[in-house]
Amino acid sequence: MHTATPTIDETIDNGVNVGALLEAREALAQAQAPEAARFTWRAHCDWVGGTHSRIAVEDFHGLGETQHHQSGFTFAVDHPAVFAAADHGPTPVEYVLIGLAGCLTAGIAAVAQHRGIQLRSIRARVEGDMDIQGILGMDPEVRNGFDDVRVTYEIDADASRAEIEALVAQSQKRSAVYDLLTNPTRVRVALA
């Protein structure tokens, strides 16, 4: 592969090590070992009671071996009082919004770094609309999940509006969670 190495502007710092990411990409391309690029992400869920569960994330598989987060993370999942629940944590669908916002925003920072754009602030409002007649089984015509998801960004950066719009567009193009929400995915749920 004949790949020109983009020059990284040392004066731009969004805290993303784009050089390392590009090196990793190049290494994967040279390695001729597609398995190294296969990652498996995992989480472990324990039911606490009611609609309250606790979910732990510790390790994942990638680059041919098990990898560990620097420390484990746990997340409470529950439902709010309007669902007659104790509200020990965000709802599962809010975690989906968290994932989408985190993924797109990380993408914006990385793409901005790669394009030599200094960011000062990024804020996003993420909303998903849902008709709960679906999950309550009231109307088979209504789907369970979101029927509309909106992400609105406010970005302050040393760039024109068109350049910032291009950052937002490119982050969608390379986002795993955006892809997960916009495309069907095979999901298998089984008893161990």
């Binding site: 592969m1 068109a162 291009a166 969608q172 929400l181 916009t182």
Partner: protein, 438 residues
């Protein structure tokens, strides 16, 4: 080494210095340069000159490039309509005429079945005997096979399927609605033609390139050519693999210049949906990313027009041309359709306009990558083995007719040096993307 037994004993291999495989525009352009240099050569063509244009294109197709831009080495367009767009018949006549003026021997009706290395070069097997040569130029084209997603095999049996290679005209399809998959040049043109024939048309849209036919009173190709974008070289772009994958722009040629973007199509009643991404029983699933792809195409178009305006300003064209303008953003349905059940009966035909790929199955040399793509460095595949006529082979214009001239000249130079210096191969030492046979 070829086992002796495989050679037909009654018909010894013919010998020539250079074989060019394919007599379309690229092969003919190479023929011109080899003849000019006095290099002994022959062209092998499976059918007739311009075979693909005779047998693999729909009836109404016109070139995306205006007539003035249709030129081959030593031949410019000399007809009465430089701003017009050639249809198939005119283009076939143009290429026939060019072939007649060449000094190159053209062996038509000769299908190549295998290419192998040989003691002193290559051996090419055809359905009409074998050839031995020192060098080979592959000019068989970039669009021999349709790229069709795997889910095509699982579509319900009552659905008629066709592709941009097999489709000819609307009447060929059964009555009823058509889903056109793909919104590059082929897809938008077929959606437009089928909608005009009175059918309900749904267009599945993924990543695409939006271009206006004319900008500030000039054809967009005039702009791209004069601003130097078409001459951008393969060793100048940051991500060549991506540049080579770029979809063809949403353009159409015709008697009256017109835009054929998503706005033009939806104004005619074509329903826009996202990329076709799944099939659940008989239910087609479309991606929810239509807005992203449309916004991305609008942004890229805006950047291109900014660049063209800056060029016009810097090169004295600004005052001579109408003022800059920007096309309206792509309009999309408020609630794009995410799924369609084929059992509903609205859609009777699925027309795949999901791209093309070349057919290199006859290459018996290790020059393909893990995904079956030909590895080459600017058209140099291996010592004495070249390819022409692929997208962004050496320049942005490499994939279109007028792009063949510069590529054929430069690869002809390289080929002549290779013949003169035998196995001296210094020019490629640094390029792992060309193959060096052990």
């Amino acid at each position: 080494m070829i086992p002796r037994a495989s050679r037909p004993p009654h018909r010894p291999a013919r010998a020539v210095t250079v074989l060019v495989i394919g007599a379309g525009h690229a092969g003919l352009a190479m023929g011109h340069h080899l003849a000019r240099r006095g290099i002994d050569h022959a062209l092998l063509e499976q059918g007739e000159v311009a075979h693909a244009w005779r047998h693999q294109r729909w009836d109404s197709l016109r070139l995306l490039t205006p007539n003035w831009q249709c030129r081959l080495p030593g031949q410019a367009y000399a007809g009465p309509d430089p701003e017009g767009f050639m249809g198939k018949t005119e283009l076939i006549a143009f290429l026939d005429d060019y072939a007649r003026g060449l000094a190159s021997p053209i062996h038509t009706g000769t299908r190549v079945t295998a290419l192998r290395t040989d003691d002193n070069g290559y051996r090419v097997e055809t359905d009409r005997g074998s050839w031995r040569c020192r060098a080979v130029v592959i000019a068989t084209g970039a669009t021999q096979l349709p790229v069709i997603p795997a889910l095509a095999a699982a579509l319900p049996p009552w659905i008629t399927q066709s592709s941009a290679l097999t489709y000819r005209r609307p009447e060929q399809l059964p009555p009823g609605g058509v889903l056109v998959v793909g919104a590059s040049a082929s897809g938008v043109q077929l959606a437009d033609e089928l909608r005009r024939s009175g059918r309900p048309v749904t267009l599945a849209v993924g990543e695409h390139l939006r271009l206006p036919r004319r900008y500030r009173g000039r054809d967009i190709q005039w702009w791209l050519e004069h601003a130097g974008l078409l001459d951008q070289r393969f060793d100048e772009v940051e991500d060549l693999a991506r540049a080579r994958r770029r979809p063809s722009p949403q353009l159409v040629g015709g008697p009256a210049p017109r835009d054929l973007d998503l706005n033009a199509l939806s104004a005619k009643g074509v329903r826009l949906v996202g990329r076709l991404v799944g099939l659940d029983g008989s239910r087609l699933q479309f991606a929810g990313s239509l807005a992203m792809h449309a916004a991305s195409a609008d942004l890229k178009l805006g950047r291109l027009l900014d660049q063209l305006d800056a060029w016009a300003l810097a090169h004295g064209w600004h005052d001579a041309l109408p003022a800059p303008e920007r096309p309206a953003p792509t309009r999309l349905p408020a609630h794009p359709c995410l799924g369609l059940d084929l059992a509903d009966g609205e859609i009777q035909t699925v027309l795949w306009a999901t791209g093309f790929r070349p057919d290199f199955s006859w290459l018996r040399v290790p020059v393909l990558d893990a995904r079956g793509r030909l590895k080459h460095h600017g058209g140099v595949v291996a010592p004495g083995l070249y390819v022409l006529g692929l997208p962004f082979l050496r320049r942005r214009k490499s994939g279109v007719i007028h792009g063949a001239a510069d590529d054929a000249r430069e690869l002809g130079d390289h080929l002549a040096a290779w013949l003169a210096h035998g196995h001296h191969w210094e020019s490629l030492r640094q390029h792992p993307n060309a193959t060096r046979f052990a």
